[in-house]
């Protein structure tokens, strides 16, 4: 391995990349860096440009503008076979006319690696994905999860500078998908490799990534750690795409020195943390995640004016197993949905009950609209 393969170096630099298909912009002036050894996810709805970006890194799409560098070298002029990347395809694209071993050996053989080295590295790769002894199996003789592992081994055996993953877990059932998520994370940590993972599944991105880039309409909406993106979404799209939130528009009633602000929503006062100072009267969006709200029965002692609670009536209750979901109607203001942990106190609350819904100002984000 080259000596400069240290951590804290940029593995992939995306610089002002645009891609147009006719009049449609699949990627619109996208720039960011992916660090070495990072598990980086591109997250967004279908058609947001995440796959186009991944395929551009791999060499299967040519950007109309901008530059892509891997380990400091521009790769735009390189064909896919000459790039230091390997891809795990959405439907895996294992070669049906070869057995497991020949699939895994393919990349090394194309580079004319000698037979002894190839055999050794193929066995190592199969061991890495826990498929020892499966070399002679045909591709149609193994299960879906095993095919996943073969696809991983086939890519990783080439020791790529960057591994590109194009929703490889999409076709698996839930249990297997969760299992493969853990497996992928283990592999990435064990190898210290740079993974770029495309997914539309926010839970998957959250569970696996060091950092996530949320994309929509060919643009980056936000880049950050899963916690940053979840706790501090920068706009309405990110707030809605990840997790469940009450999105409530109001006008700034009071801006406080500690960074919190109070907004007025149809008479309901909501205190939250503003990411930028806003003038009184300005329109703002409160992001109130379902599980950041608390619910308690009765609740006659309303702390009016602080903007951290309201009295309400439960209009709908849904049992979801791990959580209980309450739709509450405050006396004034919009409907609030609350996810409460499945506890005895929570289960005791019924539809039609009077409750108090409360929250901490630090947990509520106020976004400038």
């Amino acid at each position: 391995m080259p000596a400069d393969k240290a951590k804290n170096a940029v593995a992939v630099a995306i610089h002002r990349v645009s891609k147009r298909f006719g009049s449609v912009a699949a990627l619109d002036d996208v720039s960011f860096d992916i660090m070495r050894g990072e598990f980086f996810s591109l997250l967004g709805p279908s058609g947001c440009g995440k796959t186009t970006l991944l395929r551009s890194i791999g060499g299967f799409e040519a950007p109309t503008a901008g530059d892509i560098q891997i380990d400091g070298q521009s790769v735009l002029h390189l064909a896919p076979y000459a790039r230091p990347t390997n891809m795990i395809f959405q439907h895996l694209a294992l070669f049906p006319h070869m057995n497991v071993r020949d699939n895994v050996a393919f990349g090394l053989r194309m580079k004319r690696t000698d037979a002894a080295t190839t055999a050794r590295r193929v066995e190592e790769a199969l061991a890495l994905v826990r498929l020892e002894g499966y070399g002679d199996r045909g591709i149609d003789q193994i299960s879906g999860g095993q095919k996943q592992r073969v696809a991983m081994a086939r890519a990783l055996v080439n020791d790529p500078a960057v591994l590109l993953l194009d929703e490889p877990l999409g076709a698996l059932d839930l249990q297997l998908r969760l299992q493969m998520q853990v497996e992928l994370r283990r592999l990435q940590r064990q190898l210290g490799a740079t993974f770029v993972f495309v997914t539309h599944d926010q839970g998957e991105a959250m569970a696996m990534s060091d950092r996530i880039a949320v994309m929509n309409s060919g643009r980056i909406q936000q880049i950050g750690t899963p916690a940053e993106i979840y706790e501090r979404p920068v706009n309405r799209f990110v707030a809605t795409f990840i997790g469940h939130a009450n999105l409530i528009e109001g006008r700034v009633a009071e801006q406080r020195a500690d960074g919190t602000a109070l907004i007025d929503v149809e008479g309901l006062r909501v205190a939250g943390t503003a990411q930028a100072l806003a003038a009184p009267g300005a329109s703002m969006l409160a992001v109130m995640r379902y599980e950041k709200l608390q619910i308690e029965a009765g609740g006659n002692a309303s702390v009016a004016g602080t903007g951290t609670s309201t009295l309400a009536t439960v209009s709908e209750k849904t049992y979801m197993g791990a959580a209980l979901r309450f739709v509450c109607r405050p006396g004034v203001g919009p409907t609030l949905t609350v996810d409460a942990p499945n506890t005895e106190a929570g289960r005791a609350i019924c539809e039609g009950d009077s409750v108090r819904v409360s929250w901490a100002a630090s947990e509520i984000n106020l976004l400038a609209e």
């Binding site: 791999g58 060499g59 299967f60 064909a79 896919p80 076979y81 000459a82 990347t85 390997n86 891809m87 395809f89 439907h91 895996l92 694209a93 294992l94 070669f95 049906p96 006319h97 070869m98 057995n99 020949d102 393919f106 990349g107 053989r109 194309m110 580079k111 045909g138 591709i139 149609d140 003789q141 879906g144 095919k147 086939r154 890519a155 080439n158 076709a171 698996l172």
Partner: protein, 301 residues
């Protein structure tokens, strides 16, 4: 994933119980085979032991017809030559058809339909016409001679364009090449483009991708196309008749002569039976080779 991998060869009758099948359902098929397949061959086989003379063909059981065929070198030589022509026609068709099939398979959208139709439309015309059309092109006063003389490149018409083995190759390849193109095209069509991307991603250059992914996956098409063209070419009659002259004659012409001009049905049947036997042997050998091949490429189990 539960979706079957492409290129997988289905097992014959998987899961069929060996007893208690309603075998009478097979009767129409069996009857068809008996009447149109087996009966003519049995009849021809019987006639090949009969005796033909100027007074007609009379039932007998003697090996004279076969003996004559072996004793006179002409017939064996012609059979060998016919096999050679059929084999070379197959190879030439393959060389011509593979790039054509590749071209068709790699077109997209409406263009593909246009290209496919453009390739296939000429083959809706009778193959006799398509063979005959070479005469006004290659003949003494044909298109090519006229053009060359008009350009002043030659002073008198070239005679060897027609009526030799070369013309037979030209005619056979032209008439039968689509029987090669079609199965190869269908095989190429079935290849998932992602497999080609995957190969490229894994470091395979275009030639390597072709050699290690495209060719093996289109191999069944190549084989079935080759068998078709070989079988059609080995029994060719019209093409050598129209284009071959005396030096381009093939085994089929010899058989036809026995029936049409020599009135020697018995000897004609013996020649036919020999050709059937040789072709059957050929299919057996190829069939076995294909079987081994499929095991070799991982289709076992």
């Amino acid at each position: 994933m539960t979706s079957p991998a492409s290129g997988k060869t289905p097992k014959p009758f998987p899961g069929v119980r060996p007893i208690g099948r309603p075998f009478w359902l097979l009767l129409p098929g069996v009857a068809w085979l008996l009447v149109f397949g087996l009966a003519p061959i049995l009849f021809m086989g019987a006639v090949s032991f009969w005796r033909s003379s100027i007074f007609g063909t009379t039932p007998d059981f003697q090996f004279g017809n076969y003996a004559r065929m072996i004793e006179e070198p002409l017939y064996v030589e012609l059979l060998v030559k016919t096999l050679r022509i059929a084999a070379l026609t197959t190879i030439l068709s393959l060389i011509f058809s593979y790039p054509l099939a590749w071209f068709l398979a790699s077109r997209k959208g409406a263009w593909k339909a246009v290209c496919v139709v453009a390739v296939f439309v000429p083959f809706w015309i009778s193959y006799v016409v398509r063979t005959f059309v070479w005469l006004p092109i290659l003949g003494r006063n044909g298109l090519i001679n006229q053009t060359l003389m008009g350009l002043g490149l030659i002073s008198s018409p070239v005679e060897w364009f027609l009526y030799n083995e070369g013309t037979v190759y030209l005619g056979l390849v032209y008439v039968y090449t689509l029987f090669m193109t079609l199965p190869i095209y269908l095989a190429l069509e079935k290849i998932d483009p992602k497999l080609i991307e995957a190969a490229t991603d894994l470091g395979a250059r275009p030639w390597q991708t072709f050699r290690h992914v495209v060719l093996p996956l289109s191999w069944p098409g190549v084989l079935s196309g080759s068998i078709m063209v070989f079988l059609l070419a080995v029994s060719a009659y019209v093409t050598p008749r129209l284009l071959g002259g005396t030096s381009g004659i093939m085994f089929g012409n010899m058989i036809a002569n026995q029936f049409l001009s020599n009135n020697n049905w018995a000897f004609g049947s013996a020649l036919s039976m020999t050709l059937v036997a040789v072709v059957a042997l050929f299919l057996l050998v190829v069939g076995r080779w294909v079987g081994i091949r499929e095991v070799f490429t991982g289709g076992k189990g």
